[in-house]
């Protein structure tokens, strides 16, 4: 599978995650969101950027439980809950937000 972003064809796995994380640029997230009929707001970008920083530091995508706690600590207490995160990413913050961020599918329960 693949996705076309700014005229470039980027390879993805069968679930739509980028095959090569270094292919990522912000328009990848925009394109994926468009395909899901979702408009990205600054709240979405807070989570996407957080995920990219987490991956950069720890080399994995965080489990949802870890994501939720860390968002609460780093972005705001009112945002560290699954209701808020699912509101932003209805397909699940682990799966959908990681996909937009160019990360591989998270390990474990997502």
């Amino acid at each position: 599978m693949s996705i076309v972003v700014n005229g470039k064809t980027l390879e993805t796995d069968e679930e739509g995650y980028l095959a090569d994380i270094s292919d990522w640029e912000p328009s990848v997230a925009e394109t994926m969101a468009q395909q899901d009929d979702l408009e990205l707001t600054s709240e979405h970008w807070d989570i996407i950027n957080f995920l990219r920083e987490y991956y950069e530091e720890y080399q994995i995508a965080p489990a949802v439980r870890v994501l939720t706690k860390a968002v609460g600590k780093k972005i705001g207490k009112d945002k560290g809950n699954s209701k808020y995160l699912y509101g932003l990413f209805p397909y699940g913050p682990g799966k959908q937000a990681c996909r937009y961020a160019g990360l591989p599918k998270p390990t474990g329960c997502v």
């Binding site: 080399q59 994995i60 870890v66 390990t107």
Partner: protein, 135 residues
């Protein structure tokens, strides 16, 4: 009623020559979702898994040394390292990474959950665990 069991992951293999170390780490990450009491033990060549500064990216392998540092976020409370195994390899705790632990609910903090233990302590810790996964 959910019951919490004491889990131990026993790591005795060097990190990059085989897949064991990364597989063990992945199982720890998955297992942590179930709210168990989790400890890791590093013995024999397993102590090499925690050596600071490792970078296998030129060997085209995932650099998962960084991933150990997030284990505190995954509910891992203890990472024990067998002292005689370290000494046999000319290593000391100063050669190992540090892993911080923090309970975001209670704000309780531990600077470093990596702890060197002697052989008797290691044997006791393994014996008192209810489930031991060997890698």
């Amino acid at each position: 009623m959910p019951t919490s069991k004491k889990f131990m992951y026993l790591n005795r293999r060097a990190p990059y020559g085989t897949i064991y170390a990364w597989e063990s780490l992945e199982v720890v990450l998955i297992g942590a979702a179930f709210d168990q009491e989790v400890s890791l033990m590093f013995a024999d060549d397993g102590v090499y898994q925690l050596v600071k500064g490792s970078d296998p990216s030129e060997a085209e392998m995932k650099n998962f040394l960084a991933t150990y540092r997030t284990l505190g976020d995954y509910g891992v409370r203890h990472m024990f390292v067998h002292q005689a195994s370290l000494e046999a390899r000319g290593l000391t705790q100063a050669d190992l990474i540090e892993v911080a632990w923090e309970d975001l609910d209670t704000e309780q903090e531990v600077d470093n959950i990596v702890e060197v233990v002697d052989t008797d302590q290691a044997a006791c810790l393994i014996a008192e665990s209810e489930v031991v996964f060997s890698f």
